[in-house]
């Protein structure tokens, strides 16, 4: 009963200059599922996440070998436009980073630069509703995005990411700067969003990975401190009966 793939890393190796940061990663990401990436600090979680929409292109000295297969194509092929990749594969960061513009403009911005021709008001409303923020901001769309609380700002960034109609949303520690209630709201939102989108989330919070994700990839430090995929599987299996001892030791707090 193999699930359809949204994106897949094949023999992925990532270097920062001479440093081999990520080694031989083969990671399937299933469509409309939430895949959590967990692992100790420095094991390449965020590096791998960024490789899924070519964000590493922007890091000086970063080099990628192997493939990231998306819609039958390697996104690192020379004829692929990284801007188009990033439109299809959006990203939400650790610290909410709304633009210093109105709530409305924060959401409309991406669509506008992509030449969106439809009804912008409708797009803004749909995106804010999908991000579970509409009811809280509908009467103050002209206010600055920065006037919102941290949790609201993060949902605004999610609304901004989904306004350009991506397939996949990458989330790098999306709740680590938020309080527990705002965190649970983001987690609920992720579950709702997974009905339409594929989500890959990097998190340090194992309970969050256990609560929110369908699949979990455990990354660990391999030889010469290169990050490697230690174990991948359904979340319930990883957290109740992992196959590798290193996974067991990490999720039960014996290291990391």
């Amino acid at each position: 009963m193999e699930q359809p793939l949204a994106i897949e890393a094949r023999n992925l190796n990532i270097y920062y200059g001479d440093f081999h940061a990520v080694r031989d990663v083969n990671l399937p990401v299933y469509k409309n599922k939430i895949t959590a990436i967990i692992g100790p600090s420095g094991c390449g979680k965020s590096t791998v996440l960024r490789s899924f929409n070519r964000m590493n292109d922007l890091v000086p000295g970063a080099r990628v070998e192997g493939e990231v297969r998306y819609r039958g194509k390697n996104i690192y092929d020379p004829d692929v436009d990284p801007v188009e990749v990033r439109r299809r594969i959006g990203m939400v960061f650790q610290k909410p980073n709304p633009f210093p513009k109105s709530i409305y403009e924060n959401v409309a911005w991406g669509a506008r630069i992509n030449g969106y021709q439809g009804d912008m008001d409708e797009l803004v409303e749909t995106s804010l509703r999908a991000a579970a923020l509409w009811d809280e901001v509908k009467d103050k769309l002209g206010q600055s995005g920065l006037s919102l609380s941290g949790g609201q700002q993060q949902r605004l960034c999610i609304a901004r990411a989904i306004a350009v109609r991506p397939d996949i949303i990458l989330m790098d520690e999306p709740a680590s700067a938020l309080d527990p209630i705002a965190t649970l709201k983001i987690e609920d939102l992720m579950r709702d969003l997974a009905e339409q989108y594929t989500i890959i989330v990097v998190t340090h919070n194992m309970q969050q990975a256990a609560r929110v994700s369908h699949y979990t990839a455990f990354f660990n430090l391999g030889p010469q401190r290169a990050g490697m995929l230690e174990e991948f599987g359904p979340t319930e299996k990883i957290f109740t009966m992992p196959e590798k001892k290193a996974t067991e030791d990490y999720i039960t707090g014996r290291f990391g």
Partner: protein, 228 residues
């Protein structure tokens, strides 16, 4: 090494389970010894001891809930804690079987034993021994021993059958002894059930260690059904 205090808490749970098991083992042997000696005072003490067994079971249960709420256990830790819920409930029920034998003893009042007890104490020894080793296997997560112990349940069943047949011959010979025979049969039945619960503890031990649930009951359904 992280999680020092969590490991200490887990060890305390393990130790308490062992204590609970020892109390049940003790109660089983004493209940049958008291029956054999028709010692009503000892039987009353077993009733009191059962209250302590129940109290310890609830104390362990509360420790488990606190650990689940505060530590969010995963993987082996989770399997361990979930299994201990089951194991302490089994032990508590086994304690009730011992108490049941003490109650039979008290109910018999002044009535003498139908016959001197020989197989019943042997059955109790066997049950206590199986329980003891099952708990050692649990403490050490010794899968091999945990898988082997349920095989010995057949010996307990054989002793039970033997007691049953013997008591039936008494009844057939003199139906007036039905009540006295029944008392002993109930006691034997309690021990037979107690041994079945040792098997459940062994199943949990294997689950904790491997994550696999293995059915270890050696009785097949065919054995239990009436002949065609």
């Amino acid at each position: 090494m992280l999680r020092k205090s969590f490991d200490q808490d887990l060890q305390r749970v393990r130790d308490d389970v062992l204590t609970l098991g020892s109390m049940v083992e003790d109660a089983t042997l004493k209940a049958v010894a008291a029956l054999k000696a028709r010692d009503l005072k000892a039987a009353r003490e077993i009733l009191l001891a059962d209250k302590e067994i129940n109290a310890l079971r609830f104390s362990i249960e509360s420790q488990l809930m606190i650990l689940i709420a505060t530590q969010q256990p995963m993987a082996h830790d989770l399997r361990f804690l979930a299994s201990v819920f089951e194991i302490i409930s089994e032990l508590e029920r086994m304690g009730d079987y011992a108490k049941g034998i003490a109650i039979i003893n008290l109910r018999m009042g002044d009535e003498p034993l139908l016959k001197p007890l020989i197989d019943l104490p042997r059955m109790a020894e066997k049950c206590a021994d199986m329980l003891h080793r099952a708990l050692t296997a649990f403490m050490e997560e010794d899968v091999t021993t945990a898988r082997a112990i349920p095989q010995e349940d057949d010996e307990v069943d054989a002793l039970y059958e033997q007691i049953y047949r013997e008591l039936m011959t008494f009844i057939i010979a003199d139906p007036k002894v039905i009540q006295r025979a029944n008392w002993l049969l109930w006691a034997a039945h309690n021990l037979e059930r107690l041994a079945d619960r040792v098997t459940n503890i062994c199943e949990r031990t294997v689950f904790i260690a491997t994550g696999e649930i293995e059915e270890m009951d050696t009785k097949s359904d065919e054995d239990l059904l009436p002949p065609e």
